[in-house]
Symmetry: C2
Subunit: 138 residues, 2 copies
DNA sequence: GACAAATGATACCATTGTGGTATCATTATG
DNA sequence: CATAATGATACCACAATGGTATCATTTGTC
């Protein structure tokens, strides 16, 4: 019945893998067919993901024969948090469930403060995780 | 486009409010009509929520005219975490996105460890929050 | 220049989770 | 027995997620 809460979805996961692949490669372009073969991600889905990464300026693309993608920045300058944000929006736990509607306790909501603390912690934990870090496992 | 991550959904939110209402009342049964008037939650939806709380043994119910619900335990022994679990399942961030499918890094996945830490933190933060605490704002 | 190989853009689709409604059965009180 | 309540359950609408398909555009190579 009830799903468990997830911080990383498929989009993000696939995106990170693709980014890691390119980071490991270090030089040159990586095409979709190459990624599909290595990462076993459904081709059209991967394409869409890479396009998003391109639009968000995490990847540089080259069209045409022999084209492909490469990282727009050094791997150590691409954070997991950034990728999460691209595909899942910012991590905002403390937003009241009732967004527009009036919350009884308004500002000094106890729970809200706790959620704020958690939110902060998550950001602190995720911030230092970069693509560089991930391919070296630290 | 991308939604932001939420730790508390409407079910949980409504449930907590209903529980708080009953906790404040201290004695006697609370009927759905009464709750509807006070909490402005859609009636049939609230009923469903209360039934779930009853099935999960957080509420005691009495059928028939003059019936209603009351807390099955003292407010200080009902934790927010428990309510969250009822409606949203356990907080398991570290479950790999690819559940059955093979994860490249398997056990010693760096990200997984971080998520585990976050998961632990969330649980620690939420655990001491009880209905009792919420109605007194601490 | 033609063709092939690649990305760009976009529209679509299926499944699932969330939020919500409706209905009928059952039980208890007066 | 009527009424007021919960129990159970089935249903529905919308949105997010995961995934597919198609056509346009660009670029390298022969």
């Amino acid at each position: 019945m009830a799903m468990s809460i997830r911080l990383i979805n498929r989009n993000t996961d696939y995106a990170v893998r693709a980014l890691c692949y390119m980071a490991r490669k270090k030089e040159g372009l990586t095409s979709v067919p190459e990624l599909v073969k290595s990462l076993r991600i459904p081709r059209p889905f991967l394409r869409k993901i890479l396009q998003v990464l391109h639009n968000k300026e995490l990847l540089i693309s080259q069209k045409g024969a022999g084209g492909g993608f490469k990282l727009a920045r050094e791997p150590k300058k691409i954070s997991l948090l950034e990728v999460v944000k691209v595909f899942q929006g910012p991590i905002k736990l403390s937003e009241c469930v009732l967004q527009k509607e009036a919350c009884p306790n308004k500002k000094n909501c106890f729970l809200r403060r706790r959620l704020g603390t958690i939110e902060q912690f998550i950001n602190i934990q995720l911030k230092p995780i970069t693509i560089e870090g991930m391919i070296h496992g630290n």
